[in-house]
């Protein structure tokens, strides 16, 4: 198992870089993971991250699109290049397994 240090905390991560223990997550950690993805987090990003942390089970792009926080196009703009996976990584939750 790999380890990574974010915001001064050493955390266990999967090979793909997803946090093993999502309870260790905080906003400072999120900012540093986001930096690795070349994303500067805004309040809008954090609102989405909060939603996906609360809806980890059965999370799909469609659910995020229906969240009222952001539409699907906006979701792609916030997290370019694979929004569901990248946002899940930044939110400190497991790698999503959904095909939709």
């Amino acid at each position: 198992m790999a380890q990574k240090t974010y915001a001064g905390v050493t955390l266990e991560v999967t090979e793909d870089g997803y946090l093993i223990d999502s309870s260790k997550w905080n906003e400072e950690i999120a900012k540093e993971i986001a930096k690795e993805e070349n994303i500067e987090l805004t309040d809008k990003h954090f609102a989405v991250l909060k939603f996906i942390r609360q809806n980890e089970t059965g999370l799909t792009i469609r659910k995020v699109g229906n969240s009222g926080i952001v539409d699907i196009k906006g979701f792609y703009t916030l997290f370019p290049g694979g929004p569901l996976k990248i946002s899940s990584k930044i939110a400190g939750i497991k790698k999503p397994t959904s095909c939709v």
């Binding site: 792009i61 659910k63 792609y76 694979g82 996976k85 959904s98 095909c99 939709v100």
Partner: protein, 167 residues
């Protein structure tokens, strides 16, 4: 031992030529899956596949209950082909399939196309098939960027890490 070197898939060009629920959804899931992974996706609908992007038919796709050996009754018993011939059975099976998909959060065709295009995926219609079915641009869903020839489609399907998929 030689080192294995994979080139990542960066772009998929998908051709959908059939209009049953399962064929269309295979295409939509693959196209959406590609944009979800940050890949480019271009979809070309032709022949009966045009139903998936024709306003009049896109929400009324059916699955065939005849000549499909993988078709089973709820519970797993084989589905007799003769039963599939009865009026209304195909419609009933199609409604059941759609409701099962809804439970898995698989969207309807129009919403699926919204999702794909929101992620940057591009939808095209085949000129030859559009002419054959006597359709016009306005008969097609607004998701359709253009009516093009297969040659045009091939010309936009190239590049390193590109794949052409036929469903």
């Amino acid at each position: 031992m030689t080192e294995k070197k994979d080139t990542k898939v960066k772009k998929v060009a998908i051709i959908c030529a059939k209009g049953s629920i399962e064929d269309v959804y295979a295409t939509l899931v693959m196209a959406n899956g590609a944009v979800m992974e940050g890949m480019e996706a271009k979809v070309f609908f032709t022949f009966f596949g045009l139903d998936a992007i024709t306003k009049k038919y896109m929400m009324k796709l059916h699955t065939s209950t005849v000549g499909n050996p993988a078709m089973r009754m709820p519970g797993g018993l084989p589905f007799p082909t003769l039963l599939g011939l009865l009026p209304g059975v195909e419609a009933g099976v199609s409604v059941m399939m759609k409701s099962q998909m809804e439970k898995l959060d698989i969207p309807r065709v129009d919403e699926f196309l919204d999702m794909i295009t929101a992620g940057g995926g591009e939808i095209y219609a085949c000129k030859l098939a559009v002419d054959m079915f006597k359709l016009k641009k306005e008969d097609l869903s607004d998701h359709v960027i253009d009516i093009i020839t297969i040659g045009d489609f091939y010309n936009m399907a190239g590049g390193e890490g590109s794949q052409i998929i036929f469903t």
